[in-house]
């Protein structure tokens, strides 16, 4: 394997090199403590050493507000929204967020493949970066290590004084061509040490979660939950959406748009006439967690949680998905027979 070395003080030069070829999106400092992905205009603003962004790269492929069609009320004509490929370098992405995109790819490709999402996905060069797990990351428990290069074209692993640069794909080689880097010194990047773990092998989680259906943990979690839906909105694998009709102020036309929705929100299951099928916060919490660890993994063999820790880090009430799952695990070990 051909490994190069990128010294920290050359990150800015690399960003400039990439910007000459394609638009670059990368983490940049926002608030005092926060980092967010944004289009790069100033190479010096890029931050590669960060714990997590509040929103993942999902926002570029399934934007929070996404036009589906435009209509004209005067003649009832309509046209599909124009969707352009992102065609950019996504720089400084963590392995769990890349894994989340695999899951979204699956959702929007299986069955009836959807143009809006898949079109935007085209032309992306993925440049990953390793990270030091903080108190919320638990990707290791779902099989995604901080050094996982799967899905990336180039991967940067943090070592002393900079990064080891691994060219993973041909595309990755092309984008780096012309940017001279020295060979990497011997010495391995840190594989990262997780502080959070799910105490069960991934392969057995489905079984445990199936048994948790009538667990008291859902009601207990509901007591602490305000039902604000933040956990859905920051989740990189949540893709649920609602559809909204917008009419312009001249009332001559408008757009049909989809907007992010979340299963923690009360109206999510409401049908015409007002019936809500998951009326309680306990049922909604259960659905959220089982969706990540059972319902969708039943179909695909992959958990729909990538261990990024966002739902926990950004929960004002401090509800931890790892604690919920571990509680289910320990209950299961005590009473395995309650399995459905």
């Amino acid at each position: 394997m051909d490994l190069k070395f990128l010294a920290s003080d050359r990150v800015e030069a690399l960003v400039s090199h990439l910007m000459h070829q394609k638009a670059v999106y990368a983490p940049q400092r926002m608030g005092r403590h926060s980092v967010a992905l944004d289009k790069v205009t100033n190479p010096a603003a890029v931050v590669l050493d960060y714990s997590r962004t509040m929103q993942s790269v999902k926002k570029y492929f399934q934007p929070p507000r996404d036009e589906l069609l435009k209509f004209d009320l005067t003649d009832q004509s309509f046209a599909a929204a124009t969707v352009e490929p992102l065609d950019a370098v996504l720089l400084g992405i963590h392995s769990y967020d890349r894994a989340a995109i695999d899951r979204l790819d699956y959702n929007f490709s299986q069955g009836q493949p959807e143009k809006n999402y898949l079109k935007r996905r085209e032309g992306v060069i993925w440049v990953g970066v390793s990270y030091e797990p903080d108190e919320f990351h638990f990707s290791g428990s779902v099989g995604i290590g901080p050094l996982e290069t799967e899905g990336f074209d180039v991967f940067l692993s943090r070592v002393g004084g900079g990064y080891q640069v691994e060219t993973v794909t041909e595309k990755g080689g092309e984008i780096l061509a012309g940017f001279d880097l020295p060979q990497a010194e011997q010495g391995k990047p840190s594989p990262g040490h997780f502080h959070q773990h799910i105490f069960l092998p991934q392969a057995r989680l489905n079984e445990v979660m199936a048994a948790s259906y009538s667990s008291p943990v859902w009601e207990e979690t509901a007591q602490k939950c305000v039902g604000c839906g933040s956990c859905n909105i920051v989740c990189p694998t949540c893709y649920c959406f609602n559809v909204e009709e917008n009419v312009d102020i001249k009332v001559t036309g408008g757009t049909r748009e989809r907007i992010w929705d979340g299963c923690m929100l009360r109206e999510f299951t409401e049908v015409a006439g007002g019936e809500v099928f998951r009326g309680g916060l306990a049922e909604r919490q259960r659905h959220r967690v089982l969706r990540k660890f059972k319902y969708l993994s039943d179909r695909t063999g992959h958990p729909w949680c990538v261990g990024c820790g966002r739902c926990t880090a950004y929960c004002t009430a401090g509800i931890s998905i790892v604690s919920i799952v571990n509680r289910c695990v320990s209950d299961f070990e005590k009473h395995p027979t309650t399995a459905v």
Binding site: M30, Q55, G227, C228, I233, L265, L281
Partner: protein, 249 residues
């Protein structure tokens, strides 16, 4: 719709900031006027006619005369829209409801209190049927435009029900709690695009409580963050005293 809808605008007890916000649609005002006939608007015009399709009403009800007028407006309007926190949930006026009304009157007017009749400040919905709410203090302009176009189209506008947190997370705002301040966002209805947290302020709860608020969980959040539950409750009463008094009983 064949004829243009006839629109009337009224105000009760309040600051008239929502009405001002309606005059602040400089870029859209002429388009809006193209779709409707404004037939009554005391703050902006003289004329005073009979019936109307849509009545936008600001302010809360706080005198016997208010009650008479709102019933009359309801009778004459096909659609009644409550505009702003005062009209929708009683708003800031309803803070006085938490204390005996006689005590409050005496405190302000002393022996002259009988000159000025007053009632507890009520939201419109506690006296008449309200068809649509436009929330906020002042009302949120984007929401008003949505409601306006929906009504011109003859359809029921959708009222936002999820918490302000959703919009903060969409805008990737640093959580106000992380900044060490009390924030009412977790139990306050969104739809404002998280205006206040987005510019460094905390959510003051002006859009009213979310449906079925989990106030116990909200207390836990405050305690966990080392913030005063009492102070937060006081702040929650700023716009929501009427609703909170209702939850108590």
């Amino acid at each position: 719709m064949a004829a243009k809808p006839r629109v009337a605008i009224f105000d009760f007890t309040g600051c008239e900031g929502c009405e001002l916000n309606q005059l602040n649609f400089e870029n859209q005002l002429l388009d809006m006027l193209g779709h409707v006939d404004i037939v009554e608007w005391r703050e902006a015009m003289d004329d005073r006619p009979g019936e109307y399709d849509i009545a936008f009403v600001e302010g809360s009800l706080s005198t016997p005369d208010c009650i008479k007028r709102i019933n009359e407006i309801r009778r004459r309007a096909k659609v009644l829209v409550a505009v702003g926190a005062c009209a929708v949930q009683g708003g800031i006026n309803s803070m006085k409801n938490t204390r005996p009304i006689e005590e409050v009157r005496e405190e302000v007017y002393g022996k002259d209190k009988y000159l000025f009749p007053t009632l507890p400040a009520l939201p419109l919905s506690s006296v008449v049927k309200v068809d649509v709410n436009v929330r906020g203090c002042p009302m949120t302009q984007i929401e008003f435009l949505k409601v306006f176009t929906a009504l011109v189209m003859g359809k029921q506008p959708v009222e936002p029900t999820s918490a302000v947190c959703v919009e903060c997370k969409l805008k990737e705002n640093e959580c106000v709690y992380e900044r060490g301040m009390i924030c009412l966002g977790p139990v306050t209805r969104g739809g404002c695009d998280a205006q206040c947290p987005s510019v460094g302020q905390y959510c003051t709860g002006c859009r009213g409580l979310v449906p079925e608020p989990n106030l116990k969980a909200m207390e836990d959040i405050l305690v966990t963050h080392g913030l005063s539950v009492n102070e937060a409750w006081k702040r929650l009463h700023l716009y929501n005293s009427h609703e909170l008094e209702g939850l108590k009983s």
